[in-house]
């Protein structure tokens, strides 16, 4: 079976934070303890939505050392394919769900003399766990958190009360913006940057850091891409000898799984590389949406990441 180990959990809290974001708390059905994890880890939540099974990754935001429960925060995305909407409308206290063991693709570099965290919107969640981890180890950190408005500033109150000196908040609707030039300029040697938020923000921070010569390995980022809907298309799976249809609202990976073919994955968000699949034949255009393949590989069309990428054209044959 693909993906990380599974854990059966019960929903023990559903807490709406604001118009868009709701927090969920999971405790193990077995009554025992959950695995410890490291700050920055995510879990993949299985959602049974009629005949469709959706698997969406969410960052764990609770204290990594608290093994009694995990919490995640989900931002409702009305344009998306419904995973977040399902969480908001169909999940209630007492429900049993299946989640994966924690997987960390955004871990702290423990060599850093200082951890400089830059968050945008719901991108705050992995930092909440990292901050708890660092506080326990007396780590040196500083957070810069941009939100759309006070009303949508999830966990702003909590952060500013518990860490008034380390947390800086910026509200878009009050035209407050992170002064990145000054911020990066003033950092001590050995500082590592972590950024999690919308794609635009990640690109902006990475480009600025590269421009001023920040070492590449000292810049960490995490962006889960939600698979985007798109035109339906047909795929031939060469190894399992099946022809499958990928619907408008499902990802290629989901369509492969629906056909009963076991395909590898971890993050389901174009980041981990685990789902990489060889393309046997492609007459048309592969719409690469992942962060994994190099640009040259994307141009070559010999590989595809089925968790987020799609296809438009006549024939697509995969080695799966």
């Amino acid at each position: 079976m693909s993906g990380a180990e599974k854990i059966a959990v019960r929903v023990t809290e559903v807490a709406p934070l604001n118009e868009l974001v709701t927090r969920f708390r999971f405790e193990p059905v077995s009554g025992g303890l959950l695995p410890t994890f490291s700050g920055g880890a995510h879990t993949v939540v299985e959602m049974r939505d009629g005949d469709i099974t959706r698997l969406n990754p969410y960052s764990l935001m609770s204290d990594p050392f608290d093994r009694s429960a995990y919490t995640i925060s989900v931002r409702r995305d009305d344009e998306g394919r419904g995973g977040s909407k399902f969480m908001h409308t169909n999940v209630s206290v007492g429900d049993e769900m299946v989640i994966s063991n924690p997987v960390n693709l955004f871990s702290l570099d423990l060599r850093a003399t200082k951890h400089l965290m830059i968050a945008g919107g719901i991108g705050i969640t992995p930092f909440l766990a990292q901050i708890k981890q660092l506080d326990r180890a007396h780590g040196n950190w500083e957070l810069h958190y941009a939100c759309r408005s006070e009303a949508l500033g999830s966990y702003v109150d909590y952060l500013t009360t518990t860490h008034p000196n380390d947390v800086n908040i910026y509200y878009d609707d009050q035209s407050q913006a992170i002064d990145l030039d000054t911020l990066l300029d003033g950092q001590p040697l050995g500082t590592h940057i972590y950024v999690c938020g919308p794609k635009g923000m990640i690109d902006w921070v990475r480009a600025k850091a590269a421009e001023i010569g920040w070492p590449r390995e000292a810049v960490h980022y995490e962006e889960f891409l939600a698979p985007q809907p798109g035109k339906p298309f047909e795929v031939k799976l060469a190894v399992s000898n099946k022809v499958i249809q990928v619907g408008e609202q499902e990802s290629l990976l989901e369509a492969i799984e629906r056909a009963g073919v076991d395909a590898p994955y971890l993050c389901r968000g174009g980041a981990c590389g685990q789902c990489e699949t060889d393309v046997v034949q492609a007459e048309g255009e592969i719409i690469h949406r992942d962060h994994w393949l190099e640009d040259s590989e994307k141009a070559g069309d010999a590989k595809i990441m089925p968790c987020v990428s799609r296809f438009e054209g006549k024939v697509l044959v995969l080695d799966r």
């Binding site: 990380a4 490291s38 920055g40 063991n101 960390n104 871990s107 570099d109 981890q133």
Partner: protein
């Protein structure tokens, strides 16, 4: 089954020996009659009863003596155990993993009692009963990694994972096949594997690293590696090459059966939860040629593997000069009959050795 711990040495008079049971459970590394490097990894989720795969950390009859040998090596050369400052958290992860695994897998030998951060660890074979505060180094006689690896067979590399690579930033290495932690410390996966022949060209390390980076909590993996050692020496380090290198020249047709050992490493891979580091235990098993030949399938197969092994591998593994003498010995145990697939001895089903005509 209860384990009778041997009182034996891996140096000096070399009183190390394997019981019949140890021979039967020896991890013979060849699943067919030939050998080449491959990405030979599988899940580490138990195995046949009493095999070395059964438990997460195998404890066998050599446990107590191996730990005495480790203490001697560390007393001589403290640099065999190193941990860069950012790896302490991973050390606690490792201590927890081993204490939990051993106390669950061998409750008659090890006990772990946890009351919040107050832990009591009982190691009966080594006569240890310590109480300490988890995550507080001042409450242990050594750092957490050193403390627990002084009580666990096998070498340990603790790898930091960052920048899509693994970095050898901590370890306890006293039973190694001719490589040095002090030399490799701080290196990445490709750097420390640089001396290995042929495997880079075959793309083995690129694929192996991809696999390792994706090893998940709760889903450990394993593989076997092997080499040859004259005399049952655990510490075949470059630091001490001047002591053991010359022993390779003491081999004669008369003593080869008892002196020449097949050295097998059971290598496992575990993701560590708090640090997101990876730990790589390398457990060394030794078996003399004479003892191996008591399993007819292994006799036939070892002869064929050693005979056909590429020169590059025999050179890298350090037995190219002794290969002709080994083949003279081994050929007497190869009657040309076919062998069954897989590494297990298959004593009940494999035919006994037919008399081999001397050539």
């Amino acid at each position: 089954m209860t384990i009778q711990f041997h009182k034996e040495t891996f140096r000096g008079e070399y009183s190390f020996h394997n019981s019949e049971r140890a021979i039967k459970r020896f991890p013979f590394p060849f699943d067919k009659d030939s050998y080449m490097y491959a990405v030979n990894m599988e899940q580490h989720r138990g195995g046949p009863a009493d095999s070395v795969y059964e438990k997460r950390f195998d404890v066998d009859e050599h446990y107590v003596s191996e730990m005495e040998d480790r203490a001697l090596v560390l007393a001589d050369d403290p640099l065999r155990c190193q941990s860069l400052p950012h790896m302490t958290l991973a050390g606690w992860d490792l201590l927890e993993l081993i204490m939990v695994s051993k106390s669950e897998d061998y409750p008659e030998l090890f006990e772990l009692h946890r009351d919040g951060d107050q832990w009591r660890w009982v190691n009966k074979p080594l006569g240890i009963d310590d109480t300490f505060t988890f995550m507080d180094e001042t409450t242990l006689p050594y750092g957490p990694m050193e403390y627990i690896t002084r009580q666990t067979q096998g070498d340990f590399c603790v790898l930091d994972q960052r920048d899509d690579n693994l970095w050898m930033d901590a370890g306890t290495v006293t039973t190694q096949a001719d490589w040095s932690l002090d030399f490799d410390i701080g290196m990445n996966f490709f750097e420390w594997h640089a001396p290995v022949p042929l495997a880079h060209e075959k793309g083995i390390f690129v694929r192996a690293l991809k696999f390792l980076l994706n090893i998940q909590q709760g889903a450990p993996a394993r593989r076997l590696n092997w080499t040859m050692t004259v005399n049952p020496l655990l510490d075949t380090s470059p630091e001490n090459y001047h002591k053991w290198g010359i022993q390779k020249t003491t081999l004669t047709p008369e003593n080869i059966g008892s002196k020449q050992h097949l050295r097998v490493e059971l290598q496992t891979f575990f993701r560590l939860p708090r640090s997101n580091a990876l730990v790589f235990p390398i457990r060394c098993y030794l078996c003399s040629f004479d003892d191996l030949m008591t399993v007819p399938k292994w006799g036939r197969r070892l002869h064929r593997v050693i005979r056909d092994l590429p020169v590059e591998l025999a050179t890298y593994k350090g037995f190219i000069d002794n290969r002709p003498m080994m083949l003279d010995y081994l050929s007497k145990f190869d009657d040309g009959q076919p062998t069954s697939l897989g590494i297990w001895p298959d004593l009940e089903t494999e035919p006994p050795l037919k008399v081999v005509r001397s050539s």
